[in-house]
């Protein structure tokens, strides 16, 4: 069946992309000018020739390149990403696993919220393009786009957590939960949500504009197609023309474009988690930058890339279920 072949094809492509990323990762560390081991120790008190040599041996940098590559592949296969410098020898995979849940919580909810709100705004703006709502939402999108999302986060933090001028300090200044307050059950959930609210708002607002724009343009394209005229001529109400005919066709290109922009959401997660001290993978990344923890950085890079590749795969497969023309091809 055409669908099965299509899905298998897409899965293979995704695997190939992942393989490319892994190979790229391997060479990244080794093509830099100078000695990787020296790089690790530079700027620390342990920087001397003996330690550098020791680290070289540890990292297997003295072995011939093909041998290193083989070791790398087997390491990847067993999910062994090396040991974190930052947390003094703890396996990178464990460090990441520890901190993954807050990021999933924050990104997951804000991604869903911004997609849902953005799409609805886009549909209404496109259906009434040229109206004040349309112009207003376009201007809003443009302005938010020009704002670095970390700056937006800082302003929100300053206004609603730090409190400045007329703004009340009603939210905590960061973190996942109130330190020391050993809360359980619903109280705990409420506490976490209280801490999550500001970063969630910032992420949602920062990205809903792009979804709105993509959906709006897609809708305007479809609105001018002939079959919309046919639907109207058949005596169908405008609302049904919009939701039954225009939107299903407009959603298709939107889905692919939306999921392609997932990479930017990860970027946003890194900066926003840092601003709000939200203890997820984003904050971990910034901490890894500060401590030059290359093993951790590489592990995180691989994880982020794999997540985006996976999301694209889901988008492609989902698209094939929605668009009958793709299945037939």
């Amino acid at each position: 069946m055409g669908t099965r072949r299509y899905i298998v094809g897409k899965v293979l492509q995704a695997a190939l992309t992942l393989a490319f990323v892994m190979v790229f990762n391997f060479f990244l560390f080794r093509i830099i000018p100078g000695d990787p081991a020296a790089l690790l120790l530079r700027g620390t008190s342990a920087f001397n020739p003996e330690n550098v040599a020791e680290v070289r041996a540890e990292l297997g940098l003295d072995e011939p390149l093909p041998q290193q590559f083989l070791t790398y592949i087997t390491d990847m296969a067993t999910l062994n990403f090396g040991e974190s410098f930052y947390l003094r020898g703890a396996p990178v995979s464990e460090v990441i696993a520890d901190r993954i849940w807050p990021t999933v919580l924050l990104l997951g909810t804000s991604a869903i919220a911004s997609a849902a709100i953005g799409l609805i705004i886009g549909i209404h703006a496109g259906w009434r393009h040229g109206s004040r709502f349309d112009v207003g939402s376009l201007s809003f999108t443009l302005f938010v786009y020009a704002m670095p999302e970390f700056w937006f986060g800082i302003l929100v933090l300053m206004a609603f957590a730090g409190g400045v001028g007329p703004f009340p300090a009603i939210f905590p200044t960061g973190g996942y939960e109130t330190p020391g307050a050993d809360l359980t059950g619903w109280a705990h959930v409420a506490d976490v949500l209280n801490h999550m609210f500001l970063p969630f708002m910032v992420l949602t607002v920062s990205y809903l504009g792009e979804y709105a724009l993509i959906m709006r343009n897609s809708l305007i394209d479809v609105m001018n197609d002939d079959f919309v005229q046919t639907a109207r001529a058949k005596g169908i109400r405008e609302k049904q023309v919009l939701w039954g005919h225009v939107v299903p066709n407009a959603l298709l290109p939107t889905i692919t474009l939306t999921l392609l922009s997932l990479g930017f959401i990860f970027g946003g997660a890194i900066t926003i988690e840092y601003v709000f001290s939200w203890p997820g993978l984003g904050l971990l990344t910034v901490q890894a930058i500060d401590t030059k923890d290359f093993a951790l950085l590489q592990g995180l890079f691989l994880l982020f890339s794999a997540a985006v590749i996976f999301a694209n795969l889901i988008a492609d497969i989902g698209y094939s279920y929605l668009d009958p023309r793709v299945r037939a091809a």
Binding site: D225, D226, F227, Q229, T230, A231, R232, A233, K234, G235, I236, R237, H245, P248, N249, L252, L322, D323, P324, R325, A328
Partner: protein
Amino acid sequence: MSVLSVRDLEVVYATQAGPIPAVRGVSLEIETGEVVGLAGESGCGKSTIVNAILRLLPPGTTVTGEVLLSGEDILTMKPGRLRAVRWTEASVVFQGAMHALNPVQRIGDQLAEAIVIHGRAGEREALVRVGSLLEQVGLPPRRLRDYPHELSGGQKQRVMIAMALACSPTLVIADEPTTALDVMVQAQVLRLLKDLQRELGLAMLFITHDLSVLVEVCDRLAIMYAGKIVEEGPSVEVFGKPAHPYTEALAAAFPAIGDPRFRRAPSGLGGDPPQPDAIPAGCAFHPRCPLAFDECPETVPDLYDAGERRRAACLLIPRGAKVST
């Protein structure tokens, strides 16, 4: 009472470049079971009339005059009544080969939608009726499960015809139904339309730029130029003995093999039809007319009587001059 009665219809589009008059005073009558053809080059306003009849023009368009469907004026109907009338009294066969069908919906569902919306049947019965509609247009009923991209151009056109018949309208408007099709398929579709019209006693308004097609199918013909009707009458007579220079030129562009008229000089009319925002004064056709004389740029011709149930808008007629040889 006529099935369709258009009186002094004027349509002015509102665009960024200013108001553009697309239809400048058109009157038309179609009786029950009558097939009327509307011909003209691109931009003369024929598609605008199709959209005007079912009030499908873009918002902001100014429409004046009367469009009576079985006595009711469509231009003054309330939205609820308008939606009820659409498709049940008059339906349109759009150019199916293009994107007139929803690409992500099965054709059976699209056909059934028309039936269910107008309360003619529940969802399950509707599908049964869809099957018989498909048979009527010569397609196997099982194709109702197909998507539009799985059909050929001719098959899609048949689906459009089936869709137009779904609610048993009294008037069917065919808007260039054969234009984008191969010649062989064109002939099949035309024959199908003729047969259906006869079987079901439909009134039809057939729109095209191909005059030879119209003569085959239509009882009466109306020729449009620059937003106005310039000639109308029984189709054979209008095609055979045109009373307006434009009709003659149009007829000459579709030569019939063996007809001595076309044996010698190459035919063809120089120039292009006027842009709607730059219509010449007086008779709009005078810049391209081989028979233009000094009164033509100054006087706007009415539709003068030019024979048995025939009229033409040419200043030569009141002067008793004949146009065709």
